[in-house]
């Protein structure tokens, strides 16, 4: 049995699982909000970097959904695009390991105090 477990915010953990792990069926689709706001930056970063536009969109949707400020998003799609690329690579890492069977199963378990 090889297992990793974390404890954290229910909302964030569930969202990470639903957006970044393919647990059957189609992978999550970008909701469009990131594309609407950052399409130019997404295309530029994807054109010059090692990550796909689709992944960047998924990632920005995730950041927006969890309250990333406009300033932080502007930063990530501007002068600190390297950090966005790193996070996008992280997303691709998780998806790759899920696809190739390194990650066999992903489960979210609610924690109760008693």
């Amino acid at each position: 049995m090889n297992k990793i477990s974390f404890k954290g915010s229910n909302a964030i953990i569930r969202d990470i699982v639903s957006r970044f792990f393919v647990t059957g069926g189609d992978p999550a689709r970008p909701c469009g909000e990131a594309r609407a706001r950052y399409v130019k930056a997404i295309e530029e970063i994807a054109a010059t970097g090692p990550v796909e536009a689709h992944t960047l969109e998924l990632l920005l949707d995730f950041l927006i959904a969890h309250g990333a400020t406009g300033a932080r998003l502007d930063e990530l799609t501007g002068e600190r695009a390297d950090e966005l690329v790193q996070l996008a690579l992280d997303v691709e890492t998780l998806r790759r390991y899920r696809r190739d069977g390194t990650i066999l199963d992903v489960r979210v378990v609610d924690e109760w105090p008693f």
Binding site: M1, N2, I16, V17, D90, L94, T102, I103, P113
Partner: protein, 253 residues
């Protein structure tokens, strides 16, 4: 004692012990005109008690709406944006407020018994004196709200649920005076924390393990002020064998 009053601009008005009741159709029509018009109407008619009980309120943009003392019993307000709304003393019993945004709303002395507040945003809402018996609070966000309760287990539960803080008896906070044993059976409270369990292939490379740990940590920290607790890894041993070890946060790649 009820007595008839005059005609308002929206229909027949009945005054009852200083309060007025109007046919709800006019009130619904008034609300359809938007929050600004509604609030202005309330300002001009402070003695009218809005009656929107049992109504499917289709207007969802209700930020800053003045629902003070309103009869919203059984109203459908699913997903409504009521950020900053004034619901002081409103009757919201049996109302459906699922996924409603009640951020910074004033719910002082409101009756929320049997209300469905599943996944509602109650962050920084003022719930002082509000009644919440048998309300459904499953995954409601209660950060910043305060609970007054002398029952230890319930304090623990509420502290765990959506970040609500239990406080000593005071004028602040909301009360669960009469929860009795039925509360738990009939109500639900959010779990704020979850455990993410990832089962890996056997064997698994150290590199893959660390890459997964690092990726999850970075993604989580980007959107959270808190750190992920753990991680805990179990490698190459059965759970029964107790092969569990805490490791450093997985930022190494």
């Amino acid at each position: 004692m009820a007595r008839f009053g005059g005609w308002s601009g929206f229909g027949c008005r009945i005054e009852c012990e200083g309060w007025s009741l109007m046919a709800d159709q006019e009130h619904k029509e008034m609300l359809r005109r938007g929050v600004a018009a509604w609030n202005e109407w309330r300002r001009k008619n402070p003695r009218v008690v809005p009656d929107l009980s049992g109504t499917n309120i289709r207007v969802k943009e209700l930020a800053d709406v003045d629902f003070r003392g309103a009869n919203l019993r059984g109203a459908l307000l699913t997903g409504a944006d009521m950020e900053g709304a004034d619901l002081t003393g409103a009757d919201l019993s049996h109302a459906d407020l699922m996924a409603a945004n009640l951020h910074r709303a004033c719910l002082k002395n409101a009756d929320l018994t049997h209300a469905n507040l599943m996944e509602a945003n109650l962050k920084d809402a003022d719930l002082a004196g509000a009644r919440l018996e048998q309300a459904i609070l499953y995954r409601a966000d209660l950060k910043g709200a305060e609970c007054v309760c002398n029952c230890l287990w319930f304090n623990m539960l509420m502290d765990f649920a959506g970040g609500v803080q239990a406080v000593d008896r005071s004028d602040r906070g909301f009360y669960f005076e009469d929860v009795g044993g039925s509360f738990v059976e009939n109500s639900f409270v959010a779990t704020e924390n979850s455990r993410l369990e990832i089962t890996l292939s056997d064997p698994v490379s150290t590199q893959a393990t660390y890459e997964i740990l690092g990726a999850l940590n970075r993604l989580y920290r980007e959107v959270s002020e808190d750190e992920l607790v753990g991680p805990i890894i179990k490698i190459g041993l059965s759970e029964d064998a107790g092969g569990e070890g805490r490791i450093d946060r997985g930022d190494g790649r």
